[in-house]
Symmetry: D2
Subunit: 388 residues, 4 copies
């Protein structure tokens, strides 16, 4: 089951780490640490093998993957020696990376229209699939976070969207333009960012029409992952959380993007969901993101939680998470591609709520408890993957 | 369903907070924060009401409960005004506290023999049940942690134990002597400490013979509670934990007890179980307990975890827990008494593994994942509590 | 040497704790913990005794000091029993608190003019000094932080200020209006907040004309105090600090005030000074303040520092400070009043840079190293206080 | 002023980092980050230049310095590319490393006697000095921590020591044997470990007789460094520290050594000194060291401090230090050698208390406040280094 993974943002840190890691797994150089789909629980589920994954993608950046991998090795994200021994694999993936087509940049001058831009993306996707003889392609958005979508009447239905595009309008945010094109090209779509992606009624309708699955949003890799087990812990012990304040220090490109007050709105919205969902009430505090370039590819989160116990006793829990987002995200990209290939193969159409385990803002699901999400994922995979 | 709760260590901080809290709940002065059995999930399960709980117990300490409650108010464990308005309830419980019978002290001079000591405990328990017209009594050990039991042939079977006692021997550690007497008196038994309690083949056999449930061991109130959600989180994300170092700073009596290198053996053993069980491999680090009297009734735990992600990336999680053990333990004592009354009523005999949710070292269960434990508890309660 | 302490913001938490504490010290109920001027190093310096301090002040709040003290006892800032036994002292201070005169509110409708408002303050101050037969009065601003001053030509000189006031203008921010009135009334002035206070050329000139000392700004009570010893530590060890990110979680009124993006500008400016001064270069990161009402009178600061050692090795220091600002500030208010009384008595005119030890933004000094500031304070006190 | 640095433990991590770093400084490849003696404050003091330092030493380990440097590069202690470009310099130092002479191992079978062992060390030292034409040699002990010395009558005076050695006895702990030989060979001696070293009356007398300086003990590189500024901060603010609990997680060889309960006695003794000295009273808590091999060359310390402010308010400060001991220690070894060369040149005999800035247990000084220590060092260096 040869499966293509088409990365939007294919030369970013997450994408590069994904491609390096898949190649290293294929070569047997590393264990599948961090890959959920490689856990024993999924033995026997007919997922595409790590050696059946083929990479391509779009990016506005021209730096080649070998160079990018060396930068990540310098930063301590991937082992020193790895880029050198995987040059052939990285060059092969690089050869399948296309420049982002005109009309996909944020802002832009309005030319060409989005119908044309979508057409160009579709052509790149179908070319990739056919040239490499792939069974299917999963498009994964790992590009920079974008601000929340500006409402537009064309978002309401597939028909309205088609008409607006036919009129030469530009109704879609960029992430949704990619989702639209992916669905048009017969590809499953995953949004690993908090951008809008496929989460518009028009695109949901299109996915169902096309019999294609989509999943998202916003990969749960660090602070929110921890919250998704701690919040249910408090709830199950009947302890009342009174405040939960999160501070995130981010270096690198992600930090710079999220230092933009418009873009951070998308991120903060998805980061805040778990608490109210799991605790059943609003909580003081909030999530704050600060850009500290010196941290490079690394991230430090500090969360401070005050809670109340029996007879009103006040107590505190703090945690500090020091992680590398690319190292945490990349194996999940592989997992998602494998599970989405399964879903596509099994004919799942529309959102896949059982993949909520991977996301801060799980499309199609209100469940934020990691344990429940895991049980749902494992049950689904075994059931969808069962021989007919 | 009037239910007696007989507390071994009835004037300790946990016991006093339990009695104060039950009285405050009964009087409608406080919400049931921290009480798991009061969660919506247990609505409809026929547990004894908070107003059906009656307290008694054993202790070597003579200070009355009103005085002890005032000390705890001074220490910030219970609200200032509470002891004053609950004097009648506290005095009533105090009137049911008996001095620990001769032969129950640790060490001791060998007189009287344990058969006599057990007889005295049985008499206290049956007197309590009959005098107050209770449907049943749950004995809960909340006394100081004791060192691991010295092996003795009489531990092997109920028959061997009976014979040894008949010969005037002293084969049982103190916590097991109480468990033995509880079972003899027809009471369910809960060990909230890491002491041996009912965990001897002889006592297990006796419980089954008598048709009585028992549960334990070592209430999971702080650091280990957090570990029981974080360890599964790492496992489910396929992240490899490489070291987990825990430091506990304890004030008060608990700190002094656990500064004893013999007693701490029991505690460290139960504290260490969750990691290996949930991660599937041994982990460097260990748990360390230090006595800091200035912390009084409060406790601070710092855990430092190193873990490995994709491609060997090294990351770190730290947490600091600042809690009050009595505030965390007391509502669980109420929960356990309520669930054990249900189990007793339903004819459960032997260990109740479904109560593992409450314990660091769950008797009859190898499950240490808090979410799984909670699901097991909820399912069990609904099933056992269902109308016939 | 009977010394009046006139508190602007006399019913706030800092002021109330100051008055309660001074009364408790006078009554011998507590040790002088937190009072720098009571250290052995200052033995023999002719400071006014704690029993020679008399309190008055201005506030817009009407709640009496006894009530405010009880609220602080409830919040754990002052001991429970204290307000009750100090009622007479608190009532005496309360009797000397005057409503803030018209024209001192922020914003306001422009009536009356600032000359009139200053006149009313002067009258309150001189009335206080004369009625109670005080040797001198120190005015201490402990009111809410105000936004940075709007520039005005009248700030440039005492003459320009006098003329503008004579023309009925309102050139001064409120904190400076109090400083002006204090100096006009022959009182020393201390700004414990980051507001402008006496830091205008016109007021500096006035202080020198009048032979009066002034000091400020922004009491150094928590996070910045720690920074003022850690930053010099890095510098002395030639370790290069690369980022220093501070997060402050504040409850209470202070948190609400500093959640205002205009007011927080003043605070962040003073909080940031120590790093550049002590490290000699700009540092990434910044200071962030978040309002968490649940923390009440308490504050938690988390600082995350990355630094570079020999051969470029990257290392990290984090600290978490959990303090009560009123408890930390109140003894410093007493210290400042005592030292300013000494300065006034000794004829010091203009800023007192040797009091920089107490401040985040020390007027008249670029020294931010706590050890150097302490040495300067101790040397100055012994020298100024030496018998002629 | 060509100066030899003779390292006892010359192939350990600290020593290797020192040699690599000195070579990199000489080659102009790195800035002197972490080198105190390179601060502006010491401009003009006639210290030997980094390019005048020449290395030799003793070790029981045979692995060459190039190999050791590569291991440290792998561990992230020194930059990847550095060992490769400094091969010549490292080989030159390696050629001056001698096997530790018979009789210097801990324990041992009693042959040869210590007089012979000392003679062998002296021969190595004088050979080094003469062969390389050095103006002087500073011996620095950077070997593993040893248990406290067993008392012996020969420690009391130089005469008693000479006699015991002449009788073929073995009265000296190994670190003191090296100190004895260093002094006999006319070399200054520095103890960077908490071992006994020169701190015996007999050796002090010998140093004075020979006109040689010595310094120690136990380089202050991490947790204690932070304590040496925080403890004075509390003292200067009259805040009463009530408990100070330190936990150190150490990987590598140092962690293994200090997991030995006998050796850790020396370390804990020196780590505890600063608090009592600076706070003026004993403090609960203590310092705990745990071995976590996974941390490799890195170390994490967590300190938890409870303190009391005005009116008894209880507050807390925690810090977490994540450092690399070799990176922190190596530049101090260079500093100490430079300052000791100055002291030797200037004729200082006996302990050099002004170097207490570098040590946890400063010989000849009771000062533990880092700021005061720095002032003392700077004053001393300028005075000793002034032209006659």
């Amino acid at each position: 089951m040869r499966t293509g993974i088409w990365l939007v943002g294919a030369r970013g840190s997450v994408a590069t780490t994904t491609v390096v890691g898949a190649a290293a797994l294929r070569a047997g150089l590393v264990p599948a640490t961090g890959c959920v789909s490689a856990l024993e629980a999924f033995d026997g589920v007919p997922l595409p093998g790590f050696d059946e994954l083929v990479f391509g993608g779009h990016d506005v950046v021209g730096t080649g993957l070998v160079k990018r991998a060396e930068q990540l090795a310098e930063a301590g994200v991937v082992p020193r020696g790895l880029p050198g021994v995987l040059t052939a694999e990285l060059d092969a993936a690089d050869a399948e990376i296309r420049p982002a087509p005109p009309g996909t940049e944020e802002g832009g001058d309005g030319t060409p229209d989005q119908a044309s831009a979508a057409g160009a993306i579709v052509a790149d996707l179908t070319g990739f699939r056919e040239r490499l003889g792939l069974d299917r392609v999963v498009v994964v958005n790992v590009s920079s976070t974008q601000p929340p979508a500006v409402p537009h009447p064309a978002h309401a239905s597939a028909a309205a969207l088609r008409e607006a595009l036919a009129r030469g309008e530009r109704p879609l945010p960029v992430s949704s333009l990619y989702a639209y094109a992916a669905l048009r090209a017969g590809c499953a779509f995953v949004d690993f960012t908090p951008s809008t992606g496929a989460r518009l009624p028009a695109l949901d309708e299109l996915a169902r029409e096309q019999g294609l699955p989509y999943a998202g949003s916003d990969g749960k890799t660090g602070e929110t992952l921890v919250k998704s087990v701690l919040a249910p812990m408090f709830a199950r012990r009947a302890l009342r959380v009174r405040s939960w304040s999160g501070t995130n220090l981010l270096g690198g490109g992600d930090g710079a993007t999220l230092a933009d007050p418009e873009r951070v709105v998308s991120k903060n919205a998805s980061k805040g969901l778990v608490l109210e969902a799991e605790l059943g009430h609003a909580v003081e505090g909030g999530v704050h993101i600060h850009h500290v370039p010196d941290l490079g590819e690394w991230k430090t989160a500090w969360d401070h939680v005050t809670f109340e116990g029996f007879l009103g006793a006040r107590m505190t829990l703090q945690f500090t998470w020091q992680g590398c987002d690319s190292s945490l995200a990349a194996p999940l990209v592989l997992d998602l591609a494998r599970f989405m290939a399964l879903a596509h193969h099994a004919g799942v159409a529309g959102p896949v709520p059982e993949l909520g385990f991977f996301f801060k803002d799980p499309v199609g699901s209100a469940e934020h408890d990691l344990a429940a999400q895991y049980a749902s994922l494992a049950g689904w995979a075994r059931s969808v993957g069962a021989p007919a």
